[in-house]
């Protein structure tokens, strides 16, 4: 890449104030992976960048190479996911997704597959798809794609075929454990037959197929906790936006 100016599509995953009216933007681009760039004057009301480099915008960008950070020279939104922005719940999930992508990626590593997974998830969420399901599918596929695909066919410890019964799941061992291995493992939690089946299917099917699986509230919660624990184990921290998501969720329930 010798050209001083380049174009790419990107989803904005993070932004910080930078100086008086500039923003330091973290982009997840289709062509170059995660890139950090400056959007000059993006905080001024008349900025032509402003709304096109807002969090979660999916934009066509033109960037100029700088000495340290590249500079966004033009931005045209392709999709702003208005339905996500209009809903407090969806936006909180959006915050979570951006934090997740940011935490799992390194700068300047091209990753088109993750880009399209990310983009599709946002589209599904904007298009009235079940938000929790879209998040779970994203989490599982993200883990799998980043090299943390959980072992769900055999016991991750002794490689024995798993019996169709309640087994165990351990992020530390990288997947499901049979009863003998899982019971003494303090870090393992139980996983139901149904949860195991759903995860196995989701690992190999597209989202449209994933939507055909019926999830009860209990099953949905089980998968959510499994994924969450796994991600937390891998990142060695709890993502900040999770607290906010949970809080909205519980307040909403109390209200209803």
């Amino acid at each position: 890449m010798t050209s001083r100016v380049y174009q790419t599509e990107a989803i904005i995953i993070k932004r910080h104030k930078f100086g008086e009216a500039d923003r330091l933007i973290t982009l997840f681009t289709s062509d170059f992976g995660k890139v950090r760039a400056i959007a000059k004057g993006a905080m001024r009301p008349k900025s032509k960048l402003g709304g096109n480099v807002e969090l979660l915008s999916y934009s066509q960008l033109m960037l100029a190479r700088g000495r340290n950070l590249d500079i966004i020279t033009q931005a045209q939104a392709i999709d702003n996911f208005l339905p996500i922005r209009d809903s407090l719940e969806l936006m909180s999930a959006g915050f979570y997704l951006t934090e997740l992508v940011d935490a799992f990626t390194e700068e300047n590593v091209e990753d088109r597959e993750l880009f399209s997974l990310f983009l599709n998830t946002l589209k599904e969420m904007a298009g009235s798809s079940d938000m929790e399901r879209a998040l779970r599918y994203f989490e599982l596929r993200l883990l799998s794609h980043m090299g943390y695909r959980p072992q769900l066919q055999k016991c991750a410890n002794c490689s024995r075929q798993l019996e169709p019964e309640a087994n165990y799941y351990s992020p530390h061992q990288g997947g499901a454990l049979c009863r003998e291995c899982g019971y003494p493992d303090m870090s393992a939690r139980t996983i139901s037959v149904n949860a195991l089946k759903v995860l196995r299917l989701w690992l190999k099917c597209d989202y449209a197929t994933a939507c055909r699986v019926k999830l009860t509230a209990d099953l949905s919660r089980e998968i959510k906790n499994l994924m969450r624990e796994n991600i937390r184990y891998l990142l060695e921290k709890q993502l900040k936006s999770i607290e906010w998501m949970d809080r909205l969720n519980s307040e909403q329930k109390n209200h209803a």
């Binding site: 008349k46 969090l55 939104a77 208005l82 936006m91 959006g94 915050f95």
Partner: protein, 203 residues
């Protein structure tokens, strides 16, 4: 001390360095300001120094609206000609100034001192939302105008507050989001244009 400023005498380079820390002041501007102050009469420097110290010594938060003030309640809250039935909610004290300049709003304010920002871990209880709800409980407020910034955190904060206030039966409005005066349709982003279309008005 930063070697960058060394050629000047020590007191001058110290001043340059301090000025340089201010937002929007680059090294050149800092130098120019420092040499300007050097040539100005002593009382001018003293006035400036006093003014700078004054903001630290005499200011506190208004007990009603939480704006920064030197008298409590602040000038706006104690102004009896203002309409106490309308409260305009802003993120920071600095946001009151542009709203006041419009002279269109004669109600009172409420300063949140921040916005909800899940990715920075800033939660509703880190803001002054409780104080706002207390005000609404005790006064005859009929309308709350949410004037947080039109970005994702501002929107999230507004939606969250709206959710808390609506059950109280008080009218909640949001500043319109549309095109900036002197702007250009060509450069408007899609969100702004969509909102501008939604909020279009009879002429």
């Amino acid at each position: 001390m930063n070697s960058y400023f060394l050629p000047a005498a020590k007191p001058i380079s110290r001043l340059i360095e301090e000025l340089h820390k201010l937002p929007g002041i680059g090294p050149k501007t800092a130098q120019r300001l420092a040499y300007h102050l050097l040539q100005a009469p002593p009382e001018k420097s003293r006035d400036l120094a006093d003014a700078i110290l004054g903001i630290k010594e005499n200011l506190r938060l208004c007990s009603v609206c939480l704006n920064i003030t030197d008298s409590d309640p602040c000038g706006i809250c104690s102004d009896e000609t203002r309409d106490g039935m309308k409260i305009c909610v802003v993120e920071e004290p600095i946001d009151i100034m542009p709203l006041e300049r419009t002279r269109k709003f004669r109600g009172l304010y409420h300063v949140l001192h921040g916005v909800i920002s899940p990715s920075d871990g800033i939660k509703p209880e880190d803001l002054r939302i409780k104080e706002l709800l207390d005000r609404l409980g005790s006064n005859s407020v009929t309308e709350v105008i949410l004037a947080t910034n039109p970005n994702v955190e501002g929107e999230a904060t507004s939606m969250y507050i709206q959710r808390l206030i609506t059950p109280l039966g008080i009218r909640v409005t949001r500043l319109a989001r549309g095109l900036p005066f002197g702007g250009d349709l060509e450069y408007a982003d899609d969100v702004t244009l969509s909102r501008a279309l939604e909020g279009r008005q009879e002429m």
